[in-house]
């Protein structure tokens, strides 16, 4: 192999003279996490609303929800990011467009926004499936007690639905963290971008990418464990075979 390994590269200074390569990667990691969490908030809120919309009796709301999901699931994430970053400022009124173009950290806001909307479509599908998997009688029982439809959703359906979708939601959150890397194409210096930059400046390509890979794996493990702990805490005894209150 004609590649020269140099694991000490992490402690050398990057071309900006101030930060080591290691701190460059850690900076990138922070951007990845912040982008992921912000996008996740958007995805969760918007996705829940749309998911619920798809299950209500009102035809128009259900249709809007359906169109949203179809639209955002059938266009690649990268293309969506390009649309928000390059096309959106051009098609809105000029003043707004100019302001957008000179926004500092524009790639961050665009990345969060695009990622959030994209993932919201996926979350919506999970929520819809979870509500659909509940016995039909649940909604009827809630209404029979005199609850309004919104109340039935809030107190009867959604609490169970969210417990059901904790595992798929975990993987959606992990997906957001991974998909944040796509934002490097619009200039966001998240972890993968930082690793790429490090490899270009130092020529130590494999060290850079190995470090990034390890960091992603660590993030994965931490998030998975945290979600499992959360699942245990909120599990309903006897339901779906989870958290039995006594023995079998």
């Amino acid at each position: 192999m004609s590649y020269h390994w140099n694991w000490g590269i992490f402690f050398q200074l990057s071309p900006d003279g101030v930060h080591t390569y290691l701190s460059m990667l850690l900076h990138g990691t922070v951007w990845t996490l912040v982008t992921g969490i912000c996008a996740w908030i958007i995805a969760l809120v918007l996705g829940s609303i749309i998911g619920v919309m798809r299950t209500v009796p009102n035809r128009w709301l259900a249709r809007i929800g359906q169109y949203y999901v179809e639209l955002f699931r059938n266009v690649p994430l990268l293309v969506q990011m390009f649309l928000w970053y390059f096309v959106f400022p051009e098609v809105v009124p000029e003043a707004f467009g100019d302001w957008l173009k000179q926004l500092p950290d524009a790639s961050f806001y665009t990345g969060v926004f695009a990622l959030g909307l994209y993932t919201a479509a996926r979350v919506a599908e999970q929520v819809r499936a979870a509500i659909g998997s509940l016995p039909r009688g649940q909604r009827l029982a809630g209404l029979a007690l005199g609850l309004t439809l919104p109340q039935a959703y809030a107190y009867v359906l959604l609490p169970m639905a969210f417990r059901i979708i904790l595992p798929p939601l975990t993987s959606e959150f992990l997906n957001i963290l991974k998909n944040s890397a796509v934002a490097l194409t619009i200039g966001l210096m998240e972890l993968t971008a930082s690793a790429r930059a490090m490899s270009e400046f130092s020529f130590q390509v494999f060290e850079a990418f190995t470090a990034a890979t390890i960091i992603y794996i660590i993030i994965n493990i931490i998030v998975t464990f945290a979600m499992q702990a959360l699942e245990h805490r909120v599990a309903v005894p006897g339901y779906l075979g989870r958290a039995p209150s006594t023995g079998h």
């Binding site: 192999m1 004609s2 590649y3 179809e70 639209l71 699931r73 059938n74 266009v75 690649p76 994430l77 990268l78 293309v79 969506q80 390009f82 649309l83 390059f86 096309v87 051009e90 098609v91 809105v92 009124p93 992990l174 991974k178 998909n179 944040s180 890397a181 796509v182 490097l184 194409t185 993968t192 690793a195 790429r196 490899s199 390509v205 494999f206 990418f209 990034a212 890979t213 992603y216 794996i217 994965n220």
Partner: protein, 230 residues
């Protein structure tokens, strides 16, 4: 807002977009799907085999691929494949691998992890009684797998496999990061050369949208047909 919309640039570049760009995209999708399913099935069999020597590497591989962004993997293979080629052939310097081959290797190996999870679920869903009946007739492991389990597992998983293929189709756009000319890359090149980002990116979005939408509608109809036959 749309006063300056230049349809002409789209029409002029259609041959380039589709003959060069889309052809690359479709070929990559088709070949990576085929390769990914084959390797994925092998990985699934390894994980279900019960021998730690096979289970652990397979599980480690699948979990690794699923923990890391696709973009990072694209970079990994882009740099790694020339060195591996050097090692395999015994050359004196990293060998030049074409963009298509590098992308194909990356996509096949990456998606294989996802296909393996699908096939694993499919294989596990085959009733144990089927395996017992085949074994009771004296069939060996590979005969049971080849004639009884895998044919049924595939049939059950066709809708899910096709959906994953549509996802793969959309993922091909990521070859952008290594400056490969797929459909999006072609649109991007025209956009930058002619200064027409709005038109080209909107057009690209519409094309991806229509293809994916039609494909997923077709899969849904297929699913309904299969459900009736059962």
């Amino acid at each position: 807002m749309f006063a300056n919309f230049d349809f002409d640039v789209i029409i002029r570049s259609l041959p380039y977009l589709f003959y060069d760009g889309m052809r690359f995209t479709i070929m990559l999708t088709a070949l990576a799907t085929a390769g990914g399913i084959v390797i994925g099935t092998l990985l699934a069999l390894m994980r279900l085999s019960g021998f730690p020597l096979l289970t652990l590497p397979a599980a480690a591989y699948v979990n690794l691929m699923r923990s890391v962004p696709f973009v990072l993997m694209i970079f990994w293979f882009y740099f790694l494949v020339p060195y591996i080629g050097q090692w395999v052939i015994g050359a004196s310097a990293p060998i030049q691998v074409g963009a298509f081959l590098s992308s194909l290797i990356t996509f096949t190996l990456f998606e294989a992890a996802y296909f393996s999870e699908i096939m694993r679920a499919g294989i596990q869903s085959i009733a144990r009684g089927q395996v017992a009946a085949a074994q009771a007739l004296g069939m060996t492991y590979w005969t049971v797998m080849g004639y009884i389990v895998l044919p049924q597992a595939f049939r059950n998983m066709v809708p899910v496999l096709l959906t994953q293929t549509i996802i793969l189709f959309q993922d091909t756009s990521l070859v952008y990061v290594i400056s490969v000319t797929d459909f999006l890359g072609a649109a991007s090149k025209v956009a930058q050369r002619d200064g027409r980002l709005v038109e080209m990116y909107l057009f690209a979005a519409v094309v991806y949208f229509l293809i994916s939408l039609c494909a997923s509608q077709a899969v849904r109809q297929l699913q309904q047909r299969i459900a009736i036959i059962r």
